[in-house]
Symmetry: C2
Subunit: 269 residues, 2 copies
């Protein structure tokens, strides 16, 4: 099963466009978990058990594990999702990007070591830096296009022949770079028109959308302009607003409540 | 001591502009090391012991360790350099890049967990993604500007107001983004004119230059156009051509021979 097929099935089964970002910070964990050696995995496991039927994907963010040498808990989290909830795709948010043989090692890290279904990749180094990832034809490669931070404009909004750089990335991603038809794009939700512009040139390509809610993106506007021709096509990510919805022992229940609210607000096929 | 001061001292002491990239591949290690559990560290250690007096920096490349879960050997390598040869700066080549709080975790990974003196960072996400790295004022932040791969042209050579994107990056790196004066740039050696153009707008900023030799860059032309006003300013990296100079037990001696040849070819202040 390819990433795209797995994602299609997850949208259909969950009736949800919500992706939960697993970005655990040790110091923000509930007190009862804090001193366990596997605190991060235990935290993730509780969130996953409470939300698996109402999400279309999980997205662990690499730096949160790497900064504290918790690669084992990242691997355990991904293994747990594959073993218990094999219908939910796992996106490793690592924003990799390097040349030639080095990119092959990064692809091996994401797809072989961590067994992710998809990985986020930075396009600045161009097509030959992306090919070592896309050659894993059953995996997803999610390129940064227009990120949701203010500084994203510094380069991504620079105009090239009358269009911003991120539109150039969207077109390359939909055409020259997409020989295996397994590229997706990251497009922030802060400006709905950006999502609409990207959707216009990429057909039914999945879009990973951060920035709804916490960063000010509007759910209804995002879904209205971002859906593909099947009414799906969106992976709407929320991380901290979900996993830290409560700082107490009810954190997993509270996380489910936030995901349910996002669906009610419009994050559904 | 800041990264820049350490680098200045290393250039002066070694009389060399050569940086050795520590990109070990398990399957290319000499037979006598292959079956040791610490094979990669043992390999790096031999290379470092054989070259420490004729290099200005070492640059371990993250993916080579991460793909095979060898973070411990990456950490051991960096610790070894700091302990034995504290005058040689260590550049962690990880090409990180993410937004806000996540970038803070990546900076913590590079500077606190691995104790690198500098880290490579991808500029596609803009100024606010770079600030969490540059705020470590004594550390170096080496931004990708014009990479040495052919695909680098896909985005980096796109013209913005009459100049390529990489020149926009060079100017931002030298000005708006450089409040702590600790940014350097990656500029490939394949086209000397590119190095000359970047040098013209960045003053005496250090340039990390891959692509001499193996990728066709000319040493004399690179040094002639790339030197700063002090006759230094260049970190000329070679990885595989040095560390795999011999596949036999004389690999470390052979590595030293390649570095000496690079210096003889012009890689000196």
């Amino acid at each position: 099963m390819t990433f795209q097929e797995k994602l299609n099935a997850a949208w259909a089964k969950s009736r949800s466009l919500v992706c939960v970002g697993l970005d655990p910070e040790k110091k923000r964990l509930p007190e009862r978990l804090f001193n366990r050696p596997d605190a991060i995995f235990a935290f993730n496991k509780a969130i996953i058990d409470a939300t698996h039927d109402i999400v279309c994907a999980y997205k662990p963010q690499f730096a949160h594990y790497a900064a504290i040498a918790a690669e084992d808990q990242l691997a355990a989290t991904i293994d747990y999702i594959h073993d218990r909830y094999p219908h939910v795709p796992v996106i490793l948010d690592a924003k990799r990007g390097d040349v030639g043989s080095t990119a092959e090692f990064y692809a091996a890290e994401a797809f072989e070591r961590y067994r992710a279904d998809a990985v986020t990749v930075n396009p600045y180094l161009g097509g030959d830096s992306i090919a070592p990832f896309t050659k894993y034809a059953d995996k997803g490669v999610i390129l940064l296009c227009r990120t949701s931070n203010a500084g994203g404009a510094d380069l991504q909004e620079q105009m090239i022949d009358g269009e911003p750089l991120y539109m150039r990335v969207a077109k390359l991603a939909a055409n020259e770079w997409n020989g295996n038809n397994n590229i997706s794009l990251v497009v922030g939700a802060t400006v709905p028109q950006v999502i609409a512009d990207v959707r216009r040139v990429v057909g039914d390509m999945p879009l990973l959308v951060p920035g709804v809610g916490a960063q000010g993106g509007d759910m209804k506007a995002t879904v209205a302009v971002g859906r593909d021709s099947n009414g799906t096509g969106l992976i709407i990510n929320a991380s901290r607003s979900v996993i830290y919805a409560s700082g107490g022992d009810d954190f997993a229940h509270a996380a489910r409540g936030v995901v349910e609210q996002m669906i009610e607000d419009g994050a559904m096929p």
